[in-house]
């Protein structure tokens, strides 16, 4: 294993769904001799791509979990995190970017810059990740890598220029022209593993010269030496160009664009050369940590393997090997058998087993040094924890975790499923911080919430497949509430004589809206009209009434019940009698107290290309939303609104279809507000009809 950090690359492969990044990773593994046969994502051989290790991923042809792998290309150790393409799995992308030094942004040469590319690019900018672009699928009908490069500039604001151009397109794609060396590269052999270098075809000479000029002009600003040679019109050494491209890329001011078709085995190896040449090694990137022994003062980690250990756990996975913890080492070295401290819990942890992950296979290693990405076996920790050696106490800066936006109720079909479901939920919530679960005490259902419908759908499927936990997924339910808006008096007598001892109790008083809190009981009885022992019975009766309001059957909140009079019978009064009297009194007063139905209002933020602003606002308006404002940021617009939760179900699908999948939204709870009259009437009608049919 290399220890020279200049020979280490920690890269991510990110892109829009279906851009072919898993296929690209598969080819990378093949060319770097990590695998010895190529399997397609939706391959007829039924094996599936190496990186899509989950059955579900292989079936759907999308990456759900990011898998980590390691390879060596021309003397450089490359740790690769293959990240999901769907917007619902953003956390996987975010977590990968946090620990990576560079990234390959994969784009489809037909689809161009799509919404997820925009999201991923924004995330890369947030984490200051230098990137190169690979325009894939140049063999497809309608492929136009030049248009995609222009989109990289216009839509993503990247200073992107092609460092290669394709030789032929669509069915005629045969190779690429390297604009740095001005050579044509052809990929031969059964799997394109033999690279033949040749002269640029005559028909492409002129165009290639133009593109090279464009490239040189763009990168010359990063190298005085290159600019000088250009001004003197001298011979330009390719290394000089590479140096300039590297400088620009590391400074996040330039993005070299590679082209090819991973599926047709074209252009992958030169892209790997690009990873080696242009993406940073751990020493090129400044990572900050918080010194816990010095008021969380920020300091730059050293990357020095001789310094005290700092290691970040960025992903947990509970697989067939037990809990796997993916870690990135920022400084120091850790050897099998070492003890390290979890700086969050202060607990000492022994590193029993260190592994390099190759998708779902592990390769045991004895030590890992600064800059490495490896997995620890059997270490109990949470995602985002920092491990240190005993002589230092610090924490890597926290990772941005988006809030869940959608919830679903799930009900296990039987007792066995109930047990398995609990196990599954326990594991999923530990693995994925954007997936949350809780039991709604009002409906007694288990609610799962996450980043989108597909996100939850995948977890429901995983519960079934991996844990044999069959669950019924209910339609998303909103927890409405009822409250009163006026003061109302009650005076109710409960009297029952059915032979034997009877029941008697009279409860009088009033109820009024309670500004803060859910319920308050006030005993203003004087003179013993209700004996002391039955006061708590009245309270119980009122509390029972609060469970289900009579408007729509939802819980009642914000009520103060005051009793000031009553009557009892020496023989027939009892705890039950007074409870029933209080229930009756509540019913009597409740309808006079002008009850209303309240609904949860969500603060919704929709982000999408400006061209769709009108459609986005229209869609919010149709959902009873109140638009609070809009914010234009370049070609992007954010629309902020307050929208009832009940109107937000299915919104991700609507939004996708309205905006060609280019917009995304987040939402969080804001407040409970009274529903409009029309909705109020509908809810009452629905409840009445349910009651009738029950």
């Amino acid at each position: 294993m290399s220890v020279d950090l200049s020979n280490v690359r920690n890269i991510g492969i990110s892109a829009h769904i279906d851009s072919g990044k898993t296929t690209l990773t598969e080819r990378i593994l093949f060319y770097t001799d990590r695998i010895h046969a190529i399997h397609d994502v939706r391959g007829k051989d039924g094996v599936g791509a190496k990186m899509d290790s989950m059955e579900l991923e292989r079936e759907r042809g999308i990456t759900i979990q990011s898998a980590a792998t390691f390879c060596n290309w021309k003397g450089k150790d490359i740790n690769i995190i293959d990240t999901p393409g769907h917007v619902d799995f953003t956390i996987e992308v975010e977590r990968a970017l946090r620990v990576l030094d560079g990234a390959v942004l994969v784009l489809c040469s037909v689809g161009g810059v799509q919404s997820q590319s925009i999201t991923v690019n924004r995330q890369m900018t947030r984490y200051k990740v230098p990137r190169i672009a690979f325009i894939n699928k140049c063999d497809r009908t309608g492929a136009n890598p030049e248009r995609v490069t222009a989109q990289l500039r216009e839509k993503l604001g990247l200073n992107a220029h092609m460092v290669q151009m394709p030789i032929g397109l669509e069915n005629d794609l045969v190779g690429v022209v390297d604009l740095v060396t001005m050579k044509a590269l052809y990929f031969e052999g059964d799997n394109g593993e033999i690279i033949r270098e040749d002269e640029i075809p005559a028909a492409l000479q002129e165009r290639a010269q133009e593109k090279r000029e464009e490239l040189l002009e763009a990168v010359s600003m990063f190298s005085d030496e290159l600019m000088e040679v250009m001004l003197e019109e001298g011979e330009i050494n390719p290394d000089l160009i590479r140096d300039a491209i590297r400088k620009g890329t590391l400074a996040l001011e330039f993005s070299p664009v590679f082209v090819g078709s991973a599926y047709k085995n074209k252009g992958v190896q030169p892209m790997l050369d690009g990873v080696n040449a242009y993406l940073p090694c751990p020493n090129d990137v400044e990572n900050m940590a918080l010194d816990l022994s010095n008021e969380e003062k920020e300091f730059a980690v050293t990357n020095n393997p001789d310094d005290p250990l700092i290691m970040l756990a960025f992903k947990l996975e509970d697989g067939r090997y037990g809990q796997l913890t993916y870690v990135r080492t920022y400084q120091g070295t850790v050897t099998k058998g070492d003890s390290v401290f979890n700086s969050r819990t202060g607990k000492k942890v022994k590193i029993g087993r260190l592994c390099r992950m190759h998708s779902d296979e592990m390769e045991d290693i004895d030590f890992c040094g600064s800059g490495d990405i490896v997995a620890l076996f059997g270490v109990d920790c949470a995602s985002g924890d920092t491990f240190c050696s005993g002589d230092i106490s610090c924490s890597m800066s926290s990772m941005h975790i988006p809030e869940p936006v959608i919830s679903l109720a799930i009900v296990p079909v039987d007792n066995k499923a109930q047990i398995n479901m609990s196990k599954a939920l326990n594991r999923f919530t530990k693995e994925d911080p954007t997936f949350k679960t809780f039991v709604d005490h009002e409906t007694n259902e288990t609610i799962i919430s996450g980043m989108g419908e597909l996100h939850l759908e995948v977890y429901v499927e995983r519960m079934k497949r991996e844990y044999n936990a069959e669950v019924q997924v209910g339609a998303p339910q909103v927890a409405y509430r009822e409250t009163i808006t006026a003061r109302a008096e009650f005076n109710y007598t409960h009297k029952k004589q059915t032979g034997g001892s009877g029941q008697f109790g009279r409860v009088a008083g009033y109820m009024e809206p309670l500004e803060e809190g859910e319920y308050e009981f006030v005993d203003s009885i004087v003179g013993g009209s209700i004996p002391r022992e039955f006061i708590s019975s009245c309270d119980k009766g009122f509390q029972k009434s609060l469970v289900k309001g009579s408007l729509c059957g939802s819980g009642v909140t914000g009520v103060r019940c005051v009793i000031n009079d009553g009557a009892y019978h020496a023989v027939d009064s009892s705890d039950v009698a007074f409870q029933l009297a209080a229930i009756g009194a509540f019913k009597e007063g409740y309808m006079k107290a002008k009850p209303v139905i309240m609904e949860p209002i969500m603060k919704v933020s929709v982000e999408g290309p400006t061209e769709f602003q009108g459609s986005i606002m229209g869609s919010i308006n149709q959902r009873r939303g109140m638009i609070i404002g809009t914010m234009e940021e370049g070609n992007y617009t954010v629309v902020e609104a307050d929208v009832p939760l009940s109107e937000m179900f299915g919104y991700s699908t609507t939004l996708r279809s309205l905006t060609q999948g280019k917009a995304e939204f987040t939402m969080e709870f804001s407040a409970f507000k009274q529903v409009p009259k029309l909705v109020n009437d509908e809810l009452i009608k629905k409840y009445q009809s349910e009651k009738k049919n029950a």
Partner: protein, 235 residues
């Protein structure tokens, strides 16, 4: 009670603008000062006044983020709540918030045409139809007389009653119009119905009315600002 009280006690009543707006429509107002003296605070109070009257306000903020603009409203309302000591104040505030929409643009991307496009989106889909526009951060150095006239036509096209602008003055630029409107608005002051200037004076801050076409106020009349809260007070 709370709302009525707030409306009637608003020092801005002195300008008699509501009367003028109702009669004529399409008026433009301008709040000027050096940087950092509280133009946005004044514009927010003007916006809140319109909102209390039941008018829909579109607050366009150029160069400022959405959250920062909203924070101005929250701050001013919090201060008003302290002054008002009215229990129903929050209810009043909740009631008027549907009369406000904020739209923010980057300096480089704002244009009157783009604003019109956005406004059309809102009006045509019957989402929001403002009658008062607040434009905070408009670049008057680049804005010509013709460009401002275009805003007048824009107001008529969209049935807007009032647009309020803010403009930043610079100490070193001594140019001013015959009525004392400083650069960069000295040669476009004819387009405005009201021009107010914020100027520090001793320990207070003056809100001087340089121009007001309404007959309810004499030119030169002043309001003051509480320097710690930036709330408008009667002089």
């Amino acid at each position: 009670m709370g709302k009525k009280n707030l409306v009637m006690n608003n020092p801005l009543r002195i300008l008699g603008l509501e009367k003028k707006v109702k009669e004529d429509g399409a008026s433009m107002g301008l709040v000027m000062s050096r940087a950092g003296l509280g133009k946005t605070a004044i514009l927010v109070q003007i916006a809140l006044d319109s909102m209390l009257w039941g008018d829909k306000v579109l607050h366009v903020s150029i160069g400022e983020g959405f959250d920062k603009t909203r924070a101005w409203y929250d701050d001013i309302l919090r201060l008003m709540a302290v002054e008002e000591k009215n229990e129903s104040f929050q209810t009043t505030v909740d009631g008027i918030m549907s009369n406000r929409m904020i739209m923010t643009f980057k300096e480089s991307s704002f244009s009157q045409a783009k604003l019109e496009e956005r406004l059309d989106d809102l009006v045509q889909q019957q989402i929001y139809k403002p009658v008062c526009l607040i434009i905070d951060g408009y670049d008057f150095q680049a804005g010509t007389h013709a460009a401002l006239e275009e805003f007048k036509e824009f107001m008529v096209r969209h049935g807007l009653k009032m647009i309020w602008f803010s403009a930043t003055t610079h100490r070193e630029d001594k140019r001013e119009s015959s009525i004392g409107v400083p650069a960069p608005c000295h040669d476009i002051d004819d387009l405005f119905d009201v021009v107010m200037m914020i100027a520090p004076k001793d320990e207070a801050i003056d809100l001087k009315i340089l121009k007001c076409v309404s007959d309810t106020v004499d030119t030169g009349t002043s309001l003051t600002l509480n320097p710690s809260t930036m709330l408008i007070q009667k002089a």
